[in-house]
C-alpha cells in the first residue's frame, strides 16, 4: 500500500499548518530558511494529509529542519536518517517520508546508508543540504568541499577529492535525482513536488549557502546577475538552453558536452535534448558540475520508474499469505516434529 492521495480541497491545508510555534535558530541569512519556507509552501498542495508526513533527519545545522516543521519529526543521530526512515516507511507505507541531511551527515558518516536507501528504492524523499562544509561543528571541510578549500581543518587547502553527490546517487542507481538552489523558490518547489510524487527513493541536492563558514561557495549561480550564464535549468524533452539572452546551448562534441552560441552556426535543433529517463544524459549533465567550461545543471536530472522496496514487501507478504494461508501461532508452534507426554 502506498500513500493514499486525498483531494487538496478536502484537506484545506495552508502553509501555516506546517509552521510550528517554536523559534527557528539558524544563523540569519542561512540558506536553510528559504528551503524551509518553500517546503512549508509546497506540502499543503500535495494531496497528503498533514499527519501522514514524517520528517527524519540526522545531525547538522540542516538536520534541525524537522523541529521547524509542524509534522511528525525525528531528529536522530549523525548519518543514520535514511536507515531510520526506511523503518518508518516499512512500518507504515501510508506515510510520506522525508529525510533531511547534510553533506557531512549524508555523504560522510552516513554515506553507506545513503547509497543503500537509494539502491533499494524505498519510497522516500531525501533532501541533501549541500553547503560543502560542516556547519554545526563550526567549519571543517566536508566530503563535498572542493580541492583547495581552506577551512578550520584544512588551513593549507583541502587535499581531499570531493564527491559529486548527485553523481553518487546515480551510481547508486537512484530512480529520481534533482538539483536545486536555495535562492531559487521556483526550482525548489518544482523539485519538492516532483520528489513527493515520485514512487521510490527521490534524491534532491540543494546547493545551500552557509553564510558563516562557507559564504559565497555557490556565488556564480546564486548571484542573480551571473546565474543565467552559469546555471543550466533542464526540462525533460527540451533542448539545453541557457544564458541571459537564452542564447547559449549545449551540444555534444567529441563525446563531450560543449557550450555553443545560438545564431548563425548553431540552432536549437543542434542542441542536446534533456531526457530524464536516460542515464547517459543524466551522467553527462552531472559531469558538467565541476567543469568550468560548462554551466552547472539544475532541475530534475533523472526520473525513472522502478519497483519500490516497500511495495515489493507489501506484495510479497500478500503473495506468500495467499499461497501458505495466514500464519497462526498454532501453525508456527507445531511446525516441527511434535510428541506428546501423557
Amino acid at each position: 500500500m502506498s500513500e493514499t492521495k486525498v483531494d487538496i480541497q478536502d484537506l484545506n491545508l495552508t502553509r501555516k499548518d506546517f509552521v510550528p510555534g517554536n523559534e527557528v535558530r539558524w544563523c540569519p541569512g542561512c540558506g536553510d530558511y528559504s528551503v524551509l519556507a518553500n517546503m512549508q509552501k509546497t506540502l499543503p498542495v500535495m494531496g497528503v494529509k498533514k499527519e501522514n508526513y514524517a520528517f527524519v533527519s540526522g545531525i547538522g545545522c540542516s538536520s534541525r529542519f524537522p523541529y521547524y516543521m509542524d509534522t511528525y519529526g525525528f531528529h536522530s543521530i549523525h548519518g543514520r536518517a535514511p536507515a531510520i526512515a526506511s523503518g518508518v516507511k516499512l512500518a507504515n507505507p501510508e506515510l510520506a517520508v522525508w529525510v533531511i541531511t547534510g553533506d557531512g551527515d549524508g555523504f560522510s558518516i552516513g554515506g553507506n546508508h545513503m547509497i543503500h536507501a537509494l539502491r533499494r528504492n524505498i519510497d522516500m524523499n531525501i533532501m541533501l543540504f549541500n553547503n560543502r562544509i560542516y556547519g554545526l561543528t563550526k567549519g571543517q571541510y566536508s566530503p563535498t568541499s572542493l580541492l583547495g578549500a581552506k577551512t578550520k581543518s584544512s588551513p593549507f587547502g583541502s587535499i581531499d577529492r570531493p564527491f559529486n553527490p548527485s553523481a553518487v546517487a546515480l551510481g547508486a542507481n537512484a530512480t529520481f535525482i534533482s538539483r536545486a538552489l536555495d535562492v531559487d523558490a521556483k526550482g525548489l518547489q518544482e523539485s519538492i513536488k516532483r520528489a513527493q510524487r515520485h514512487k521510490g527513493a527521490a534524491f534532491i541536492e540543494v546547493y545551500q549557502n552557509c553564510i558563516i563558514f562557507n559564504d559565497g561557495e555557490f556565488a556564480d549561480v546564486e548571484n542573480k546577475s551571473t546565474r543565467p550564464d552559469n546555471a543550466l535549468f533542464v526540462v525533460h524533452g527540451e533542448p539545453m538552453i541557457f544564458g541571459k539572452e537564452q542564447d547559449k546551448g549545449i551540444i555534444m562534441k567529441d563525446n563531450h558536452p560543449k557550450v555553443v552560441h545560438l545564431g548563425q552556426e548553431w540552432s536549437e535543433e543542434d542542441l542536446l535534448v534533456h531526457d530524464e529517463t536516460n542515464p547517459i544524459i543524466t551522467n553527462l549533465l552531472l559531469e558538467m558540475t565541476f567543469d568550468h567550461n560548462n554551466p552547472t545543471p539544475f532541475g530534475v536530472l533523472r526520473a525513472v520508474d522502478a519497483p519500490s522496496y516497500d511495495d515489493m514487501m507489501v506484495e510479497q507478504i500478500k503473495e506468500v499469505t495467499k499461497v501458505k494461508g495466514k500464519g497462526t501461532l498454532e501453525d508456527l508452534f507445531y511446525s516441527g516434529d511434535v510428541w506428546e507426554v501423557k
Binding site: I59, S86, N92, L95, H116, L329
Partner: protein
C-alpha cells in the same frame, strides 16, 4: 545370539567428523528421534568458523553433542560416553574428552596414511593398541555403503556422502531409537531427488542392520521416557525460540513485527526464521550493516511496529550509539545479542557470556537499559516474549542476551497453548489526547512511560530526537534541572521494571552455607552441580537471575541467608563485578573463557573446594 539390552538413565553422545561429513545433520536427526522417544535432552553443536576448512585437518573438525535421559536433562553432558569419529582428525580432537571406558565408533576407511598424517597420528590408533581402555568399533563405513549402494545411480562421491547415515543407523540400533522419522524426513527433504533420499535411507538401514546382525555388537541400550510435565513437545533451538517468542508477542500485542538485522554468526538463524514468516505478516529488513539494522528498527518502532534487531558481539558494538537514541527517545525496541567469543571477531562459532557489562553499561553517558537473559533454548521463547512486553509497557529498549550455545543448541520445548498466552496491552494515543496546549509527547503514565504516539495520527504531530527533551512537553531543552530530572526518570523507569520480576526461586534450601548465583546459559551446569553436591549432603543452593538489569528486589535478602556466594561465569567475572557493587560483599568466582559452556563437574569441584 540374542543381544543384551541394558537399561540406562542417561547417555552423552558426540558426533565428530570433517565439516563436510554432515555431522550437524546427523546429530540433529539423532536428536529428533530421541525427542520422539520421549527422553529429555540438550544439544550443543561445535563447528569451525570456516565453511569448508581443508579436508581432513584438525581445524576442519565439526562436532555435535547431545545428552539424553529418562530424567530431566539440564546440559548437553560433560564428557561423552560414545564418540563417533568419522576420520582421524575427529578422533584426535575429541578423544581427550571421551569418558574413561567410553565407546568409539570410527570409520576405519578414513584412517588412511594421508589422513593419519594430517591429523598428527604417527601410527593408526585403531590398530596400534593406543585406544586400549576404550571400547572401539572400527567399522568400514565407506566400504559398506559402497556395497549397499552398488546399484544406486549416485556417483561414487555421492555414495561416499551417505556414510554419516550409516553411522546414524548404527547409533539408532545401539540406543534403540526409531529410524522411521528420519526416513520420512529424508523423503521430504529430497522430494525432488528421490534417488538421494533412497540412498541415504538404504545407508541408514544398512547401519542399523549392521548393529543388529554383526557379532561385534553384543549390547544395546535403552533409555526410558523422561518424566516431563504432560503436554505436547517439540525440539527447538534457542534462535528459533527467540523468533517464535517475538512473533507471539507481536500477535498478542496486535502489532506487526519488524526486524532490522545484519547477518552474523551465531545470530543469523533468527533472521532466517523470521524472514520465512511473511505469511505471519513479519517484515524482515536485511540492512546494510548493524547500525542500519537497529536504526531501521527504531524507525519502525517510532511508526508503531513491534521492532527488533538481532546480532552478536561485534554487531552489538556497532549498535551502541543507536541504543542511546532509543533510550533518550523512549521507544520500545528489543535488541537480541547472541553472544560469541571475543573481543573483535574473536571466536564466531563459540559461546561466551562476556557481553554482560557491555549490555548493562556499554554506552556513553548514564544510559540504563533493562537486560534479560535466557537460561536454555526453550527459555529463549519466554524471554523474547517478556522482553517485548516490557519494552512496550515501559517504552524502553530492552536487551535480550542469549549465546551461541543457547542459540544453536536445542532442547525440548513444551508447546504453549496460544490461547492461554497473555495479551499484551498497548495503547496509542489519538487526537482526543491532545490537550488545550497541544499534545504532550513526554507526559508520563503510572510507570513513568511516555505515550507511544505514532505518525499518521491526526492532531498529535510532534518531534522527538537525540537532543535532550523537556519532560512533558518534549521541547528541545538544555536546561540543567530538566536534564537532571530526565536522567533520573530514565533510570527510574528501568528500576520500575523490578515490579515485573516474580519472587526469585531458589533451587535447594533458602538458607545455608553456599549460594551459587548464575545468569544465562550456565543455568543447566549449575543445576546439575548443585544436585550432585546436595546428594553428597553439602549445604548449597542455586539462584538463577533472569533479569540482570534491574536485579530482582529480593536479591540482597536471599544472598544474606548464605555464608558464601559463588558465581560461575563464562567470562572473567562480569556478574560478580555487578553483584559486588549491589551486595558489597566478597564473592567467590569461577571463570572460564574457552568458548565452551561449563561442565557441571567443574562447578561441582569448585563447590567442594569452597565447602571442603
Amino acid at each position: 545370539m540374542a543381544k543384551k539390552v541394558i537399561s540406562i538413565n542417561e547417555a552423552t553422545i558426540r558426533f565428530a567428523g570433517d565439516s563436510g561429513d554432515g555431522m550437524q545433520l546427523t546429530g540433529t536427526r539423532f536428536t529428533e528421534a530421541t525427542a520422539i522417544v520421549g527422553n529429555d535432552l540438550k544439544t550443543i553443536p561445535n563447528y569451525p568458523s570456516e565453511i569448508r576448512a581443508p579436508l581432513g585437518t584438525l581445524a576442519g573438525v565439526s562436532a555435535f553433542q547431545l545428552m539424553f535421559g529418562s530424567q530431566r536433562v539440564f546440559t548437553p553432558g560433560d564428557l561423552p560416553d560414545t564418540l563417533v569419529a568419522m576420520n582421524p582428525a575427529a578422533l584426535k580432537v575429541h578423544l581427550r574428552d571421551l569418558k574413561k571406558g567410553g565407546t568409539i565408533l570410527a570409520n576405519s576407511n578414513a584412517f588412511t596414511t594421508k589422513n593419519l598424517k594430517m591429523a598428527g597420528w604417527e601410527t593408526n590408533p585403531l590398530e596400534d593398541g593406543s585406544l586400549e581402555g576404550f571400547t572401539v568399533f572400527s567399522i568400514e563405513m565407506s566400504r559398506l555403503v559402497k556395497i549397499a549402494l552398488e546399484s544406486s545411480d549416485l556417483t561414487s562421491k555421492g555414495i561416499e556422502r551417505t556414510k554419516n547415515m550409516f553411522a546414524l543407523g548404527v547409533l539408532f540400533w545401539m540406543y534403540n531409537r526409531p529410524i522411521e522419522p528420519t526416513e520420512e524426513w529424508l523423503r521430504k527433504k529430497f522430494e525432488s531427488n528421490p534417488s538421494i533420499a533412497e540412498a541415504n535411507i538404504t545407508a541408514m538401514k544398512t547401519g542399523f542392520n549392521y548393529g543388529e546382525t554383526t557379532e561385534i555388537f553384543t549390547t544395546s541400550y535403552a533409555v526410558e521416557k523422561a518424566d516431563l510435565p504432560k503436554g505436547k513437545y517439540r525440539n527447538i533451538t534457542g534462535n528459533v525460540a527467540v523468533a517464535y517468542g517475538l512473533v507471539t508477542a507481536a500477535e498478542k500485542a496486535g502489532k506487526e513485527l519488524f526486524l532490522g538485522s545484519y547477518p552474523i554468526t551465531p545470530a543469523s538463524e533468527i533472521l532466517h526464521t523470521l524472514s520465512s514468516l511473511r505469511n505471519h505478516g513479519v517484515k524482515t529488513f536485511q540492512a546494510e550493516d548493524e547500525i542500519a539494522g537497529i536504526a531501521s528498527a527504531i524507525g519502525a518502532s517510532y511508526a508503531g511496529d513491534l521492532a527488533v534487531t538481532t546480532t552478536s558481539g561485534p554487531g552489538m558494538a556497532l549498535k551502541t550509539e543507536a541504543i542511546g537514541l532509543a533510550i533518550i527517545t523512549e521507544l520500545p525496541l528489543v535488541i537480541v545479542n547472541v553472544q560469541r567469543g571475543g573481543p573483535s571477531t574473536g571466536m564466531p562459532t563459540k559461546m561466551e557470556q562476556s557481553d554482560l557489562l557491555q549490555a548493562v553499561h556499554g554506552r556513553n553517558s548514564d544510559a540504563q537499559i533493562p537486560v534479560i537473559a535466557a537460561k536454555d533454548p526453550a527459555d529463549c521463547f519466554e524471554c523474547a516474549f517478556e522482553a517485548a512486553r516490557v519494552a512496550m509497557k515501559y517504552m524502553t529498549p530492552v536487551i535480550l542476551l542469549s549465546d551461541g550455545y543457547l542459540g544453536q543448541g536445542s532442547g525440548p520445548w513444551q508447546i504453549p497453548d496460544p490461547k492461554k498466552l497473555p495479551k499484551i496491552e498497548v495503547n496509542h494515543p489519538d487526537s482526543s489526547d491532545r490537550g488545550e496546549d497541544g499534545f504532550m509527547p513526554y507526559s508520563r503514565d503510572e510507570n513513568e512511560a511516555r505515550p507511544w504516539a505514532i505518525p499518521g495520527t491526526e492532531g498529535l504531530e510532534h518531534r522527538i530526537g537525540g537532543l535532550e527533551k523537556e519532560n512533558i512537553t518534549g521541547m528541545v531543552s538544555q536546561d540543567p534541572d530538566n536534564h537532571q530530572l530526565m536522567t533520573d526518570i530514565r533510570a527510574r523507569k528501568v528500576e520500575n521494571i523490578k515490579q515485573e520480576i516474580p519472587p526469585s526461586e531458589i533451587h535447594g534450601d533458602s538458607k545455608g552455607k553456599l549460594l551459587v548465583v548464575g545468569w544465562g546459559s550456565t543455568h543447566g551446569a549449575i543445576h546439575v552441580a548443585i544436585d550432585r553436591a546436595r546428594a553428597k549432603g553439602l549445604s548449597v543452593s542455586q539462584l538463577h537471575l533472569r533479569w540482570v538489569s534491574p536485579f530482582p528486589s529480593d536479591i540482597k535478602a536471599i544472598c544474606d541467608e548464605f555464608d558464601e556466594i559463588l558465581i560461575p561465569e563464562v567470562n572473567s567475572g562480569q556478574l560478580a563485578m555487578l553483584l559486588k557493587g549491589e551486595l558489597a560483599r566478597e564473592i567467590h568466582q569461577l571463570n572460564i573463557v574457552r568458548g565452551e559452556p561449563f561442565r557441571a563437574s567443574e562447578i561441582e569441584e569448585k563447590i567442594n573446594e569452597i565447602l571442603g
